[in-house]
Symmetry: C2
């Protein structure tokens, strides 16, 4: 990434020459370390990159060349990064709530997945999730699921940035009835999609230490290393998992994975709730990427991850929504609010998990989870242009003393006005630019009627 | 309230004659005990009352007489009831977050109130809150604050239903520099507003057992009884309060208030976090109205009220947002989601606080808190017409397997399309019908610039 103190790039010519898009007239929150909000700032985009961030007033000579997005005194900020989701599970939103965990999973979700997932339904479910993410300001998603060719196809149509991982589990799974084929299916997925798209990177997703054997975990690690792609896993999500792994292996889950050689900078571990001080230290030492998933953890009574302690130990967790069967939405603005509040509730310390910290989790730290901290997560010249405009005209956004506070504690995704990913406008004045919302919602409802029979 | 099994009223003529408003084409969720959602139902309104709820198809003869509100396959439901708020505190939204409780209250909020509250600012702050409440589907609010003549005036202009209570505290307070005048100011407020308006009922609000003397509490009780109005109080909000009251009086706060004769069916107690089993039993025995305020309690690290236990003991708590300095919004949809999730998180029991329970808290049980269970809280013929239409066309509301689940776990206030209070349309297709949003927001911003100097 090019970077200089003037926030300009493209040294061979005037950095302000030929912007394709000028976003102006708002408070620019770059989310770069230590930078204050820029009142009445501008973000200029050429191609897929940000070429200027600042308060320069002299852009009047480019109006006829550039598309002007007026922030209307709203907030211009980096796109949000959903660091853990199973996007197509939008199809199961509200299908089964307020149930004991085992009944929810084994009697409702697994059977629904077994019966109703197909390349076609995952395609439409992912598209529905893309609509929801775009509409609520998410510009990148870390996805792990099945029928992932369909997920890639849907995400490509949406224009979103994504890490899409093929699910691996040692049980019959959607699209992989024989678990002996799970690793070769993973390998085939990587072979197909590695290097295929600038926006969509492939990966592998081991369901959990409980549901994958040690051999499967090790081989998945080897394959992902061979292709230089991240490996995702659900880790220490429940007490039962910890107890069972301890019983099976004599080690707690983090140590168990370390013994297998899984812990590394490209392991993305979601949930990470029931961990000891030693496990936190080891996660830090191995530079594992942790993802906090508070609303799902609350709704499923999984426990509360020790995120403030992890941050204190130097970890930089991302923030994820999980799938819509356990949340039940993909709105990262609401997730930030919950993250900030639930830690205050548990710790009895109102100073913990500030609005600034959770906003960082959903932007800069999310970029680190994806291995893209050089490319996205902040608004800086030279970075990829993943940018939001958040409208601040609704009553609940007034007054605006502190943009970070209003974004975390008052906004919802519905306040997002414009969304740009990689220099392409995906939503403009709340109108989708890449997807046919009407068709997608019609198809999702049709599939839903089949599920709800 | 008239009521019969056919959901019709107005026996002297055809119950379907002359509806002023017909809301149709949606799923009707009456929230009456044990009633299933009515697919493609209708709610007919004449004057200030509901005259019909059902699936009768034969309304075609009235189209030219009635205003038709098309729910467009959304959800038709009772208006939400915010059972605890300080509405004008919208002006302090985002002014001070993530601070230790005492610093927040004594260094930020109290000084801001002392410096910036006036009849004029409370008027505009309340109007801003009215916009926000209408926009997020709240049709009734229980308010306690200062300069309450202004609050009444603003609420009357909005068309919302409210219980407005004059604040009483044994410290110099906004508008009452000499605390010796607090009770006579309370009495004067009741004399002025009792019987004045059908929609706005007056009351008294003792700030807390810590900040009001025993004599003040007893006299406030006597005055409110004399006028037959409810008495509000913050109760057992912090551990410090419990410790201090124990030290001062030898009793825990609930027992202390009982000794003073305060506990009764028209005492509205907000927060009620740190209570013993005996205190819960006593609250039930005295039929005290408890209000749960989860997001404020989370954000301020006050603790988590024992709501599931209270419900098990037969209490029927309402749900409140608190003021915007500690939440930071007035959106009861988000509050319902937090209420359902935070109890699951703390109890490690995913079956506790179901979506149905929290929706009941925000509707029928909120009506009980206000003493209006015969008039509002459900959609039934004969009741007052406080009705919402929630749009279900946004991606995050699809599919719609279970309307209660989607309302609690997926919707936000921004999904509310139409709002009717007492038979009057306050918002239509998200356009405010009674208030000038542009003017109110302009004034609120102007006041905010003064506060933020």
């Amino acid at each position: 990434m090019e970077r200089n103190t003037m926030h300009t790039a493209g040294k061979d010519r005037d950095p302000l020459t030929d912007p394709d898009i000028i976003i102006q007239g708002g408070i620019v929150l770059t989310m770069a370390e230590g930078e204050a909000p820029l009142i009445d700032g501008k973000v200029c985009i050429r191609g897929d990159r940000i070429i200027y961030v600042g308060k320069d007033q002299d852009l009047s000579r480019y109006p006829e060349k550039a598309e002007i997005i007026d922030a209307k005194k709203g907030i211009i900020m980096p796109g949000l990064i959903n660091a853990h989701s199973h996007t197509a599970m939008t199809l199961f939103r509200g299908l089964a709530d307020d149930l004991p965990l085992k009944e929810w999973l084994f009697d409702k979700i697994f059977p629904a997945e077994a019966t109703h997932l197909s390349p076609e339904t995952v395609y439409w479910g992912t598209l529905l999730g893309c609509l929801e993410m775009i509409a609520s300001g998410t510009t990148s998603v870390v996805d792990g699921y099945f029928f992932q060719d369909s997920t890639v196809r849907a995400l490509q149509e949406s224009g979103l940035r994504a890490l899409v991982a093929q699910g691996i589990i040692d049980f019959p799974a959607p699209g992989i009835p024989d678990p002996r084929e799970n690793l070769q299916r993973g390998r085939a997925f990587l072979e197909k999609w590695c290097g295929f798209s600038e926006l969509i990177a492939p990966g592998l997703f081991c369901h959990s230490p409980l549901t994958c054997s040690d051999r499967t975990l090790k081989e998945a690690r080897e394959i992902s290393s061979e292709f230089s792609v991240p490996l995702q896993i659900h880790l220490s999500e429940t007490r039962e998992e910890v107890d069972e792994i301890l019983k099976r292996t004599g080690s707690r889950p983090v140590h168990y994975l370390d013994n297998l050689g899984l812990l590394s900078a490209d392991l993305i571990a979601a949930h990470v709730i029931h961990v000891s001080d030693e496990e936190i230290a080891l996660l830090k030492q191995r530079e594992v990427k942790v993802v906090h998933v508070p609303e799902s953890n609350m709704k499923l009574s999984s426990g509360l991850a020790r995120i403030p302690e992890m941050i204190q130990q130097g970890l930089t967790p991302g923030l994820g929504t999980d799938g819509c069967a356990s949340n039940n939405d993909l709105d990262l603005f609401r997730e930030m609010d919950s993250a900030a509040k639930v830690h205050k509730a548990f710790s009895m310390d109102p100073v913990t998990m500030t609005a600034g910290t959770v906003l960082q989790m959903a932007t800069r730290w999310g970029a680190k989870v994806m291995g893209l901290e050089q490319a996205i997560g902040t608004l800086e010249a030279g970075k990829k242009a993943d940018v939001l405009v958040v409208d601040c005209t609704a009553p609940h956004m007034v007054p605006l003393y502190n943009p970070v506070s209003n974004l975390v504690y008052s906004a919802t995704g519905a306040d997002v006005k414009d969304v740009v990913v990689n220099g392409r406008v995906l939503m403009r004045d709340r109108c989708f630019q890449t997807l046919d919302a009407q068709e997608i919602i019609k198809e999702a409802k049709r599939i839903g009627r089949g599920i709800n029979k």
